[in-house]
Structure formats: structure tokens, C-alpha cells
Amino acid sequence: MNVITDSHVEGTVEHEDHGLSDLGYIKIALLLAVLTAIEVLTYFVDFGVLEVPSLLILMVVKFQIVISYFMHLKFDSKIFSYLFITGLVLAVVVFAAMATSLVFWTDPAGCDAGRFC
């Protein structure tokens, strides 16, 4: 590899790291299964106020695990992460703002209509 390539390869390509062994993946899958079981548990057992936050946290954790291990993001080039995470973050932020605007910050008189808010 000569000088020029060095300067122009921007991604940090971690070629050594190819992810986990099969067993590792199976363990991950088991973890995911357990998390899912907890999620489903919320349906049968009353978690009270904790229900929504715990579901959201579990969801995020599962999401995170799948993209980092199954989808290799953890081991792959950062460029892939940037591409995907940009979309993801944009999606979450923009639609959270939209929902807020539509649901909470709507015109006060709009609420007089009763059924609409």
C-alpha cells in the first residue's frame, strides 16, 4: 500500500474483526429471546408506570443488539454506521417533533372539539 492510498482511505476498515463465532451469535439470540420474553411479560403482569419506559428501553436494547452484532455494525466500517444512524436519528427526531406538534402543542382551541385531543 503506497502513500497515496494511505491518505485517501478514509474508512477505518477493521478487517481482522469479523464478528462473533456461531456460538456467540446463538448466545446473542438467546439474549434477544429473553428480552422478548420480558417484553411479552408486560402484557400479563402489571408493570404500572414502568410499563411504557421499560418496553421502550427493551426495544432500544434489542434494536441495538441486532444492528451491532447481527448486522455487524460494531465490527464494520464507521461509514456504514454513519449512513444508517443518520437516517435513524433523523427519523426519530423529525417524527417525534411532528407528533409533539400534532398532539401536544396543537392549537388550544382545537381541544374544545373534545374528541380531537
Binding site: N2, T5, H8, V9, E10, G11, V13, H18, G19, S21, D22, Y25, I26, I28, A29, L32, A33, T36, E39, V40, T42, Y43, E51, V52, L55, L56, L58, M59, K62, F63, V66, I67, Y69, F70, M71, H72, S77, I79, F80, L83, F84, I85, T86, G87, L88, L90, A91, V92, V94, F95, M98, A99, L102, V103, R115, F116
Partner: protein, 214 residues
């Protein structure tokens, strides 16, 4: 390159270099174009599903003067959906195993895992079809009310994604079987795997946000 005209190339701003020995100039980042394509597409798809999910969340409880029928959420059968969610989740595992096996050159094993993945996906779709017909029988069609339109659209979009994934997996399987794709093209399997996992994580979100959160 054809170096017959080398005579006057010396005065060019950009004459021949060692790089010309490559038929394909090395890619700037060293990453594969196809994989980058898939990641870009998935980033884009995030917004698609975010829009659909927010639409559903916004509309799920809305009623107007003409509304009748129950909302989709009232008909959910959580235990049933939990099972099919679990099936989809496990298909991600089998997909990963397909990728690792082709990486090791174990073609047969890869084929096996691909088929398993496709089958699990098909089971999920079958479950969805069953769920939908159930809803329909209880009087909740696509056009019944606003929550049903939103629900079927969201899950339908996801279902179409899964189905496309199944088609790709089966195609992949048959191509490997025919010997068109070998271990050297493990990346193709990986890329389709990315798509498959994405469909799975979308379902992780849908399952939590649409089904479980009351």
C-alpha cells in the same frame, strides 16, 4: 493500458501512473459499493417506517362522526403475535448463521440456513395473514375505520418487506444451488442478510410500540 502513445504523455498534467495498472481503480474507502448501497437504502427506509409508525400512532384511537367498529388495537392477540415475533427474531439468527457459514466456505450449510430463514419468514407471513383474516372476520377490514387503515398499511408495508426478503432468500438459495454464487460472493449473502435483519428490527419496533404499549 495501451501504452503505444507514451511519447507525449510526459507533458500531461495527469499522465500514466502506477494506478493505471489496476483495471478497476481501488475504491476510495476500500468498502464494497454494494454493501454501502444497502446501508444507504436502509438508512432511507428508516424514514419510511418512521413515517408509517407515527401515522399509525397518531391515528390509532381517532374517531369521527362516521366511525364505527372497534380499533385494531382492541383485537390484538398478544400471545399469538408474540410467537410470530419470536419466529421472526430467530430468523435473524439463522440468517447470521447462513452468512458465517458461507464465509467459511460451507456452501451446503449456508443453503440450509438460508432455507430455514426463508421458512421462518414464511411462517411469520402466514401468521400475519392468519391475524388479518381474523380481524377481517371480526368486522375490521382495511376500510372500516381510521385505525384499521393505518394498522393494515403499516403492517402490510412490513409484510411486503418480509415477502421481498423471502423472495431474495429463495433466489439466493437457488443461485447457490446452481453454483452461480460461491464462497467468493459471500458478500451477496451478507447484504441480503442486512436487509433481512433490518426487516426484523423494524418488527422489534412495531411489536413494542404498536402491539405492546397500550
Amino acid at each position: 493500458m495501451d501504452n503505444a502513445t507514451e511519447v507525449n504523455t510526459s507533458q500531461l498534467a495527469y499522465g500514466p501512473t502506477e494506478w493505471d495498472d489496476y483495471d478497476v481503480p481501488p475504491l476510495t474507502t476500500g468498502l464494497s459499493n454494494e454493501k454501502m448501497t444497502m446501508w444507504a437504502f436502509l438508512g432511507s427506509d428508516c424514514l419510511l417506517f418512521a413515517a408509517l409508525i407515527s401515522t399509525y400512532l397518531l391515528l390509532r384511537n381517532r374517531v369521527g362522526p362516521d366511525t364505527d367498529g372497534s380499533t385494531a388495537a382492541e383485537l390484538f392477540d398478544i400471545p399469538f403475535t408474540s410467537v410470530s415475533s419470536f419466529v421472526l427474531l430467530m430468523s435473524s439468527l439463522t440468517m447470521v448463521l447462513a452468512v458465517t457459514s458461507i464465509g467459511r466456505g460451507e456452501i451446503e450449510r449456508c443453503k440450509m440456513w438460508l432455507l430455514t430463514t426463508a421458512t421462518l419468514g414464511a411462517v411469520f407471513i402466514a401468521g400475519q395473514v392468519y391475524e388479518f383474516t381474523g380481524f377481517y372476520r371480526e368486522g375490521l377490514g382495511f376500510t372500516t375505520n381510521i385505525s384499521s387503515s393505518a394498522f393494515f398499511t403499516l403492517t402490510g408495508f412490513h409484510g411486503v418487506h418480509v415477502s421481498l426478503g423471502i423472495i431474495m432468500l429463495v433466489t439466493l438459495w437457488s443461485l447457490i444451488s446452481r453454483g452461480n454464487i460461491g464462497a467468493e460472493r459471500a458478500e451477496t449473502v451478507e447484504i441480503i442478510g442486512l436487509y433481512w435483519h433490518f426487516v426484523d428490527i423494524v418488527w422489534i419496533v412495531i411489536f413494542a410500540v404498536v402491539y405492546l404499549i397500550p
